[in-house]
């Protein structure tokens, strides 16, 4: 899933300065799952904003709504009936969702309320960790199913650097050395020999190197 984290309150408040009415739009997909922008976080942020405005003797009308998915135009359309009544949309969706709202409502100010972070997984309740970088050319098949691009601090493609120590990365004891994980995994599978295979230089054009990317499925168009 795409993970995100709520922006500092001050930044959100700053962005809507002067607004009297806003739509606060959550998304029922990734940001709900990572507890950043679902119905509950929408309610929490709405309450916090409300308190801040009241504390300063101002009023803010907040229309809370959580869309099924903000990255699909049909769901974004659900905002239409309210859009003219508000000064701005504050979106708690990931960057994709924010931009879909922008694309649909061209003349409306739209502000993000979360920082979109990474593509990750739930490591344990309350902890999400980066797993995929979206490089466009998956090499998990070569690395025992564990990605060095997303999970090595240096994106090294052929074994650990000198900073690997007792399974940890030198940048922090909280970070696993991914090459240690890859080694352990290969050993488990009995394919240690493959560890020696050199992975050739990666073609980064499928990543951001080739410019903004797009997927087209003719059969579905």
């Amino acid at each position: 899933m795409i993970t995100a984290e709520r922006k500092p309150l001050a930044e959100i408040i700053d962005s809507i300065d002067g607004c009297r009415r806003i739509v606060l739009a959550g998304c029922n997909e990734c940001v709900t799952v990572c507890a950043a922008g679902g119905r509950k976080e929408v309610a929490m942020l709405a309450s916090a904003l409300q308190m801040d405005f009241m504390k300063r003797g101002k009023t803010l009308e907040i229309h809370e709504m959580t869309l099924e998915r903000q990255c699909d135009p049909e769901y974004v359309e659900q905002l239409a009936p309210f859009i003219d009544q508000v000064d701005a949309v504050v979106s708690m969706a990931c960057g994709c969702g924010v931009q879909e709202v922008v694309r649909r409502f061209k003349s409306k100010r739209v502000y993000p309320a979360v920082n979109t972070k990474f593509m990750g997984a739930s490591e344990r309740p309350g902890v999400w960790a980066e797993r995929c970088h979206g490089c466009g050319n998956c090499l998990l098949g070569l690395t025992g199913g564990i990605c060095p691009i997303a999970r090595c601090s240096k994106r090294l493609m052929n074994g650990p650097c000198g900073g690997s120590s007792k399974g940890h990365c030198e940048i922090s004891n909280d970070v696993d050395c991914v090459w240690q994980l890859i080694w352990d995994r290969m050993k488990e599978l009995g394919i240690e020999a493959r560890y020696e295979d050199v992975i050739m230089a990666k073609d980064w054009s499928t990543e951001r190197g080739g410019g903004p990317r797009k997927i087209v499925r003719e059969d579905l168009q």
Partner: protein, 147 residues
């Protein structure tokens, strides 16, 4: 400020805190009438939103009262509630509301005395803090309905 009578919402779990509050009654222990109890089955049922909403609507203080640590009738509800309270306190600081306005307390069903004592101390602490700034900003103060 001396005449300020804060409004305090206490979310009390049915099995311990609410029973302790009843016990305080049976023991005829007096505590400030400022404390208004909302019964919940478990402190783990108290949503972060409820804590926020109570303050947003003008409560001057919010107590989340559950069973003693390790004694939750539902195993872990009180520890979850305590974590939520810590989280909401941080958000309150971001908003610029004193985080002391929100507190997690624990007690057993038999601790009527402790309930009354906490109710008294918390009311006193909030009285010292003064009215909830959410309302102070307007120059009007939140108050409980009914004069």
């Amino acid at each position: 400020m001396e005449n300020f009578e804060p409004v305090i919402v206490a979310f009390c779990c049915h099995y311990c805190a609410y029973t302790a509050a009843d016990m305080a009654g049976s023991m005829r222990l007096s505590y400030p009438a400022n404390v208004k109890i909302v019964r919940v089955p478990c402190s783990g049922k108290v949503d972060s939103i409820h804590m926020m909403k109570a303050l947003e609507k003008g409560a001057d203080g919010v107590l989340v009262a559950g069973c003693l640590e390790g004694d939750c009738h539902f195993k872990s509800g009180n520890t979850k509630a305590a974590k939520r309270v810590t989280f909401v306190k941080k958000l309150l600081e971001e908003v610029g509301i004193e985080s002391q306005r929100l507190a997690m307390v624990t007690m057993s069903a038999g601790m009527g005395t402790r309930f009354a004592q906490i109710a008294g101390e918390f009311t006193q602490a909030i009285r010292k803090l003064g009215p909830n700034p959410v309302c102070a900003g307007r120059g009007t103060c939140a108050t409980a309905k009914v004069a």
